[in-house]
Amino acid sequence: MKAALGLWLIAAPWILGFAHASAMHVSIAMGVAITFFALLELWVVHDPDYATPIVAIALGFDSVNSEFNRRTMSRILAQPIYRDALLIGKFPAGLITLAVVLSALWLLVIGLGILLLGLLPNTDEVLRGFAFQIAAIAYGGVWLALAMLFSVIFRSAATAALPSLAVWLLFAFFWEMLVPIVTMAVAPPGPYDPLSALRTIDVGMDISRISPNTLFSEATLAFLSPTTRALGPVLSSQVQGSVRGAPLPLGDSLMLVWPQLTALLASVILLFVIAYVLFQRQEVRA
């Protein structure tokens, strides 16, 4: 609602015909501020899982095909640069933009936290926030690389945006529904083997972790909730001697989600490499 009011304020000078007046500057400035606060509220109150992919896809879905559509690709590549310099330049540009956006939001949220709580974060909390920030950038990088891959494959920007959004919708909303079905088909628990139930849970978690959303959720959980000691099923024999509710040091939390972080970074590299190979083999003339 507030975001809609902000957007109206930005567009109002032209719609209502008071452009080039002092009212226009106030309207646009206030519109930008109100829209920004509304989006920030969405970010803080709701799950940041949803905002990062949208921003990343928006940054990447027309990065390569727009050059073809504007007929600037052959003009750029007529300069004395290697062909891969284009893709190697475009991807970090999008990633740095995403990192700046996420860092600005992160710092604003920290500032709001200090204002509201009246407490300064200690070193461990700042480092945990920083680690979360790295995970968020890697998570955004996956969606940016995916959007860029579709941007290389499809010449129309709209056609490239649709599969990116479809993949995001699949992982954000439908993956949780599909995982139990696939798990039951692949590794159903045996009625006479109690350990097979454990195997079913493990297989289900492995399938669930194909989704970058699951990887990011687990990384977030371990970094922002220091009492998280495990991300899978834990047997009672494994928690003997542990102090319930005691926070883990940052190093241990990092060890807990190191596979998730590695998988996120590997996904970024894999998607970028596929986009790179496809782009290198493309016909760029005309």
């Binding site: 000078p13 009212a23 106030v26 920030l40």
Partner: protein, 54 residues
């Protein structure tokens, strides 16, 4: 099993105060800056009130 993060409960935050300040500024802008265009004046007043009430 994995304990999923749940949505944080909605409560008044500093962001609401910032938005309220924007609404007050917008509502008082026609008087502060002496808007001439009647539509610009009306738009600022209505939107300022809407932002404050939202």
């Amino acid at each position: 099993m994995i304990a999923r993060r749940t949505s944080w409960p909605r409560r008044e935050t500093a962001l609401d105060l910032y938005t309220l300040a924007c609404g007050v500024f917008l509502l008082s802008a026609p008087w502060l800056f002496g808007f001439v265009r009647p539509l610009g004046r009306l738009d600022a007043e209505l939107l300022g009130a809407a932002v404050m009430s939202g």
